[in-house]
Symmetry: C2
């Protein structure tokens, strides 16, 4: 793409190149790889111009512009502080591009709490959505499952869980092109009577208010990697702990496997023969391939790339952002939330009238 | 051991042989293997006498008596129903043996909810403990970590989390012979300000009320298999979901590994060479080796064996029960809880006096 061609804003991505664990280098190398793999969006790179230009030198990254921002939000910055003092940061400026209609989405590898706080402030929430939710794309025996919330909110009301379900459903449909994704609520048992009152209330509201959803009721912790449903809904406390418990287990088993393959000459020979099969196994266990998760519920597209992601991970996040930027899923969330809230309000009115 | 030798009650285990997924056969085979591996306790086998005798025939199980019980609590029975109508069940009778001082502990593979309800009713709670907690022994890169609660209670107050910490500490010390196990509270971050108000309150109380405990503050989901602390404390909702999410992940990776080893002739040859190393890996990933978890906080020792455990798993649960039955850890829980409650009450009094 030539710089002169003015791209449509939804074909522009604002990239916060600062704040990743691997530095500017990792993010820009991710941009290069995404481009090589077919990414078409114009990229606006937000960061310290001199650093960015140095890294760009010698790299073949067409269709990008550099937007200077003096400050950097660090991983240690408190979200409140970042919002108060971070107006000159690359993160704030990149989100601002989406607000101003100059980009269809923003991708950042920086501090999640700060990204969320700055996004809420600049992009606002979709009407009827209380708080954003962070999604995780979880590998399963059948493919991938989207889990949300995995850490944006430590608590969630029944109504918020319902909002998460609606947002997760629309996101999964956009991500996978599946028309009616299946949705489950994470619980300690599948029976109706299990779990908190709050989670049972969420199930009740969902059944009443969104009859179009393919809601499968409760699912358990092992149903996530079992791929029982496409979308798993939970509060950010439980979701974050479940996700990290699973990641920790995968890491532990990966370590054990490496040990097993290096035990002695015999096992090393076996590992050599297994080479290609192990390579495939390794790629299945590689978190990079699923990196990039939108913060759902905001008035614009914000995609979080894992701070520790490598260049391939960043490339994955950019591709997801491009796919989502041209997809009407934000609009779908907006309309479904409005419909559901209207239906719930009508029911409330009817109940009030009956009571009078 | 000859049947004639009257064993001390703490050297007697009451075994509910009904209710396991694998039937009476699995439980009794588990008893045989435990005995072969060095279990010394006298075993009272509770169940339908004719069934038990049939399975015992031809098996070499010394030092056991059969105690007839007509009824069986099934996996589908609601705890309330089991308690109301299950007085003739093997589960009720086996717990009764502990209550009557005829056994030092009970081992059951049956319905967890029913086991808990029946145990609370017959054995009561340790004074100062509100509700029992179910423990899980979680494999880690460093060994094993005890996690509790993993499902007895869907909610837990700050005070209950403190009780779980005290019980888990005493249990870990008994299980591993470590004098001052490290204890952590499961949270979404390690910083003081992270998580629910409730969990921060629990951390505060623990620091104040049990200064002897080696309390390490908050730990995250991946710190469990990372082996960051010996005892991880959480509510039963979060603990159950984290445990099952991790189990599901391990199962998924195990399946992928089996596929990788069977891809083609080359990988099969590699798998053959890797044989012994893989055997070791498999045993590390085998849940049987850690089967058997006490319900903590009760007025007597109740060990739950996983319903789906194989004979080796049952044998593991029996050995854990024997080890715990002769250990004064129940007494330690009782005294620490009493001390901590006295200290908290004194602080309350002082605060009230200051306020007056």
């Amino acid at each position: 793409m030539k710089i002169e061609e003015l791209p449509r804003s939804d074909a522009v991505l604002a990239v916060d190149v600062m704040g990743a664990d691997g530095g500017v280098e990792t993010v820009i190398e991710g941009c290069v790889r995404a481009r090589a793999a077919g990414l078409r969006a114009h990229l606006k790179l937000y960061g310290r111009e001199d650093e960015v230009r140095t890294v760009l030198e010698g790299r073949d990254l067409t269709g990008c512009t550099v937007e200077h921002a003096e400050d950097v939000v660090t991983m240690d910055d408190k979200p409140t502080r970042a919002v108060r003092h971070g107006k000159n940061s690359s993160m704030w400026a990149a989100i601002g591009a989406v607000k101003a209609g100059k980009a269809g989405g923003v991708v950042s590898s920086g501090n999640t709490g700060a990204l969320m706080a700055m996004s809420v402030l600049q992009l606002r929430m979709i009407e009827g959505v209380d708080r954003p939710a962070i999604t995780a794309t979880w590998p399963t025996v059948k493919g991938q499952t989207v889990v949300l919330d995995v850490g944006a909110n430590v608590e969630a009301s029944a109504e918020q869980l319902v909002q998460f379900a609606i947002m997760g459903e629309a996101y999964y449909a956009a991500l996978k092109g599946k028309e009616r994704p299946t949705v489950g609520l994470l619980n300690v048992g599948e029976e109706e009577a299990k779990g908190h009152a709050l989670i049972r209330e969420a199930a009740r509201i969902l059944r009443e208010a969104d009859p179009d959803m393919d809601f499968r009721g409760f699912v358990e912790g092992d149903d996530i990697s079992g791929g029982e449903v496409d979308v798993v809904v939970t509060d950010g406390f439980t979701g974050n702990i479940a996700l990290k418990a699973a990641e920790g287990t995968a890491r532990m088993i990966g370590g054990w496997m490496r040990q097993a393959l290096m035990t002695d000459m015999r096992s090393k020979a076996g590992a050599f023969l297994l080479g290609p099969a192990l390579q495939h196994l390794k790629s299945r266990m590689n978190p990079s391939s699923a990196n990039g998760a939108p913060l759902l519920g905001l008035g614009g597209l914000v995609v979080k790339s894992h701070g520790g992601a490598d260049a391939d991970g960043v490339a994955s996040a950019l591709q997801i952002a491009e796919d989502l930027a041209v997809h009407p899923f934000q609009e779908q969330i907006r309309s479904t939330i409005a419909e559901v809230n209207a239906r719930l309000a009508a029911k409330d009115d009817a109940a009030n009238e009956a009571a009078e």
